[in-house]
Amino acid sequence: MTAAEVARPPRPSLVSRTLEAYGQEIVVFAAIAVLFVVVGSVNPRFLSDSNLISIFSGNAYIAVAAIGMSLVIITGHIDVSVGSLIGALATIAGTLAVSGYPVWVAWVVPVLVGMAVNAMVGAVIAYVKIPSIVVTLGMLSILKGGLISLTGGAWITDMPPAFFIAQQRWFGIPSPIWFMVALTAVVALWMRHSPTARMFYAVGGNAEAARATGISPERTTVIAFTLHGLFAGIAALLFATQLQVIQSTVPPNLELTVITAAVIGGVSILGGTGTVVGSTLAAILFACIGSALVFLNVSAYWLKAVIGLLILATVLADMARRRRYRRI
């Protein structure tokens, strides 16, 4: 019940159309900008090259993982096992590297394994019809438990120097930043222009309508999860090669950080809407907040509280947006 059909509605201005389509991305971007200005004026060292580079470079793997997570959430699913998967793939990469395999093998195999594992997870979700949260919760325990048992919790060290791809600099900029920017750009364009990505949005927006249109929700789910595995694999490489050691434990709650980045970036937790530009911006925002707290001399524990508030605010904004689609 709106006035929309009383007469042919006027075309809204470019500004309001842009806000409607990319509201969340703009908000997150503005938040980063505000953070830079505020924290920078309190403590100018926050804006130093070395700090900015370490913020971006150290967290790029989260942004890369959030790209894959966004695809999965847009398709109407979720994956809570991505943190454990990244840990397992990092360990595989490190083990291959120290076992004398060529470096490229140590790089490629984990990515392929990530794709294979997640293709299987996607197939179970799609064809056996078990909710994704259940399947990936199971996966989380399997990967975490399996990894600790197999490695005994030991660290991997003494990888050959060529292995450390994340420590390389290309044109003076650390490679993880290149990965983050390039992957985000490519996937953002692909999401907007490819037929397959359209299926992700269609299936996440209304799986039954997609099915009745001849789009297979099952196949689409498997493709989304497989791609998610690809990005998890790349994220694992960046994570595994940024330090001299690989721990078999990833940062706790990594999966939550990744999911949160997607959601705060504007990917609707209910599926069907969102962009990977948003998720990458949100991952950068977290990293900035974390670093800013240090520079402002605030306990890092506040980071969690701040992110929690951001999640709530985002979900509220998402619901407000959705309400506009629903006619009464």
Partner: protein
């Protein structure tokens, strides 16, 4: 018209307003949302023991008016009186306390709870100790349902397992349990089959006799004429008029609603029929579609009538490959084909406009252009990408050709009205240039103007050689649009009529003939 004004509900509330003041009186209602006026100076009243129909196209302001009466929206201007006394509703709770209950189109029940629990949710009878008095609750629920001629409904049944018609009774009983003296019904028959509609009309008549004032919102004129004492028509947020039903006829109401006269509600151009495009030979699906055979020719509209649950929709799903046939043969253009997925059906040139466009037809958060492209992703593909220029051009073409009222191809479909959404579903299927178009309830829940536009489109498509299979619960639509009519009952085709010999009586009889549908 003299009617006894008794206690309004079994609970025994003395009926107020017996002195002639309307039970509910809305005057000078004005309301705007974010600067857009959706209701301007509209007055509407409901007296004891009458059915007052509220009519208007989608967007005319009916829902807003109802929501003001229900306490959901507050009017910007205007006064609300109950039994002559001015009131203001801060919330739906206030409206309920004032004796006003609403049965919304999308029934607001809890599927996992029982009938009795649903009726008394929030106001269950209590024991002395303050706990729920289950025995009394079940007894009172029983009484309320018996009063609605619903003796067959079990108060302990889970609501989720009930038919729409029965859920509606639960909703009405819930309204009465709160001593409602004014009952507002928002398109109560939108999703009911013909036989259920008749029973609902009976229930409404019973309530009227008991002195309940009923505001009845509907798109369906026959039932309005069967029920209403007075009619109020809204258009574009303004009051067109309030008239006693005796002074009205169908043509007059329609012209008041659309502001122009529609010569024929169901235009159909006679067309020369071509060759057989679709043939079913003994098609079965898992006991719900049984041994169905028919032929559909190019240029023909074949109507399928039947009650809900007669296998009509199931037949459509089988022909379209969503639930593949378990036996029998399907021939497209004369050659036998296996249709085991919608994908294949689409490749064969079969299109399906589903019964529930919200559930199966559209992806509401996506734009018009994106929704239309869903059937065309392969054809619009250029390398790895979708050809967005062609996609937009396609959307523009259909917005123009089908008269979709929208800002442009980039508008999100969730923001469109029902009729325009339906046109988008139609557009996405016409985009594939189908040979066979299956339409399940093509005009459900859309307003009269858009309805006749869709009918005109169907007629035009048929004249261009498209073979159309139309399933509809509205007999006038089936009779008006079809070259031939098949009647389904219990999964079988039980009768076939030529367009000329199909009458409301004959088709209606075949629909209900062999067996009575079980309750619940």
């Amino acid at each position: 018209m003299q009617r006894t004004v008794e206690a309004a509900s079994p609970g025994g509330t003395p009926s107020g307003g017996g002195d002639g003041a309307p039970l509910l009186e809305l005057s000078g209602m004005t309301k705007s949302f974010s600067g857009v006026t959706v209701l301007e100076d509209v007055s509407f009243d409901v007296r004891a023991g009458e059915v007052h129909a509220l009519l208007g196209e989608n967007g005319a302001g009916k829902s807003t008016l109802i929501k003001i009466a229900a306490g959901v929206h507050r009017p910007d201007r205007g006064s609300i009186r109950i039994g002559g006394r001015e009131v203001s509703f801060a919330s739906p709770r206030d409206a309920r306390a004032g004796g006003i209950a609403v049965v919304y189109q999308e029934l607001l029940l809890f599927p996992e709870l029982t009938v009795a629990e649903n009726i008394f949710i929030g106001h269950g009878p209590r024991t002395a100790a303050g706990t729920l008095d289950w025995r009394r609750m079940r007894e009172r629920a029983r009484e309320l349902l018996d009063d609605l001629d619903s003796q067959h409904l079990d108060v302990d049944a889970r609501v989720g397992g009930l038919s729409v018609a029965n859920r509606q009774r639960v909703e009405i009983a819930k309204a009465l349990s709160q001593d409602a003296r004014v009952l507002i019904m928002d398109e109560p028959t939108a999703s009911l089959a013909e036989a259920d509609v008749q029973q609902l009309i009976q229930i409404v008549r019973t309530l009227r006799q008991r002195g309940v004032g009923i505001a009845y919102v509907s798109h369906k004129l026959p039932e309005v004429f069967a029920l209403a004492d007075r009619v109020t028509v809204l258009r574009d947020g303004r009051l067109v008029g309030t008239e006693p039903i005796a002074a009205m006829d169908e043509r007059k109401v329609v012209s008041m609603m659309v502001g122009r006269s529609i010569d024929q509600l169901f235009p159909k151009v006679p067309t020369r029929l071509g060759e057989v495009m679709l043939e079913a030979r003994g098609v079965c699906h898992a006991g719900v579609v049984r041994d169905v055979s028919f032929q559909l020719r190019a240029g023909e509209i074949l109507g399928i009538a039947g009650l809900v649950g007669s296998g009509r929709t199931e037949l459509a799903l089988t022909l379209f490959g969503l639930t593949p046939a378990t036996s029998g043969e399907i021939l497209v253009g004369g050659s036998p084909v296996a249709v085991t997925s919608p994908d294949q059906a689409r490749e064969l040139g079969i299109a399906y406009v589903p019964e529930d466009r919200g559930l199966q037809g559209l992806v509401k958060p996506q734009t018009i252009a994106e929704n239309i492209a869903h059937t065309m992703l392969e054809r619009l593909r250029r390398g790895f990408l979708v050809d967005r220029a062609r996609e937009t051009a396609l959307a523009r073409h259909f917005i123009e050709a089908l008269g979709i009222r929208a800002r442009g191809p980039g508008q999100v479909v969730g923001q469109l009205s029902g009729g325009n959404q339906q046109k988008v579903v139609l557009a996405k299927w016409l985009a594939i240039e189908p040979r066979i178009l299956i339409m399940d309830e093509p005009t459900r829940g859309i307003d009269v103007g858009a309805k006749s536009e869709i009918h005109a489109l169907m007629s035009k498509l048929a004249s261009e050689g498209l073979a159309i299979l139309m399933i509809s619960s509205e007999l006038p639509e089936v009779l008006g649009m079809s070259d031939r009519v098949l009647v389904m009952n219990g999964g079988r085709v039980v009768a076939e009529f030529d367009g000329s010999e199909a009458t409301q009586e004959a088709v209606g009889q075949a629909m209900t003939l062999t067996h009575q549908r079980g309750a619940a």
